[in-house]
Amino acid sequence: MKNLFLVLMLCVPTFACAGEAQDLADDPVIEVRMIKLAEKVRCLVCQSEPVSTSHSDWSNDVRAIMRDKMKAGATDQEIMDLLVERFGKSVLFDPPVDKETMPLWLAPFALLFVGLGFLLMQLRKRKTQVMDSTLTAEQSQRAADLLNSKDTQ
């Protein structure tokens, strides 16, 4: 009885089979093109994930719309423009350099220049603080004696 149960239990895994995820597009060329484009689009629901890998409902919709538009013959640029028109530039992972995004692009350089200026100022200040002092013959003799002395204590 126990052995029969064991045999039955061992049979269970044979019923387990993983189904392959359905490829949603009928056209694999469009699917590849769509995924490539979707990699450049931010999922607004999950923020740091691209639409290409996100499973959110919104991303599914965006991918479906991309597919439809591609089938209708839209170029990648047209699709991107369509998305930016509705959701703003924040959907782009690589935002364009323009008037609105200029502060973001320039801020690191501005900070670098401020830092460099500050450093230069400090260095110049320090230069004036270091006193030029030449040692007298007596002082240099003493210094040499100290350096040469074998007494290390």
């Binding site: 607004l44 629901v45 923020q47 919709d61 028109e85 509705r86 959701f87 530039k89 924040s90």
Partner: protein, 176 residues
């Protein structure tokens, strides 16, 4: 003296900057649609499929377009506020039932109450996409000329209603 003041000023500046960021919701993306004409569409109403609605029907009125769905949790939070608002008769509220089953949408309104002047059904979410909807609920304030004046992402609260939406509605209603 300068040695103390400069770091202090820098510190306060940075603190202010970071403090500003604290209360900010990064999910709130400024909509590029604000200031533009509300996208045109024709959709059937939720209660009667044969009746159609188009934003052009609201020409000359300031109105709210509230995107909701029966499956949306935050919509239940804003529901009582919308109910109270509808009783005040200040502004027409058009509900857009987004990516929802007709029966589910109707059941929700029948059970919880219907704050909407009119409800339209956007079953496939195409109109929602045109309006840049990515998180329900969302609320649009649309002026007399059909231009989107404001977009709220997330639930209407008594705070953003009294501080932002209602003053804006009053201001737009006063305009010709």
């Amino acid at each position: 003296m300068m040695r103390f003041i400069l770091p202090l000023v820098l510190f306060l500046g940075l603190s202010w900057f970071l403090f500003q960021g604290l209360g900010r919701d990064t999910r709130e993306v400024p909509s590029p649609l604000v200031g533009k004409a509300a996208p045109a569409f024709v959709l059937p109403t939720l209660h009667d499929e044969t009746k159609k609605f188009s934003p052009a029907d609201m020409q000359g009125k300031v109105w709210l377009l509230n995107v909701w769905a029966s499956w949306c949790g935050a919509c239940k939070d804003e529901h009582p506020i919308l109910m109270a608002l509808s009783k005040q008769n200040l502004v027409p509220i058009v509900g857009l039932d987004y990516k929802d089953k007709r029966a589910d949408g109707e059941a929700t309104l029948a059970k919880a109450g219907d704050p909407y002047t009119l409800t339209i059904a956007d079953a496939d979410g195409k109109v929602g996409f045109d309006y840049g909807v990515y998180g329900v609920p969302e609320t649009y304030v649309i002026d007399k000329h059909g231009v989107i004046a404001y977009k709220l992402i997330g639930a209407v609260s008594s705070q953003n209603l009294s501080e932002k939406i209602l003053p804006l509605v009053a201001q737009l209603q006063a305009q010709p």
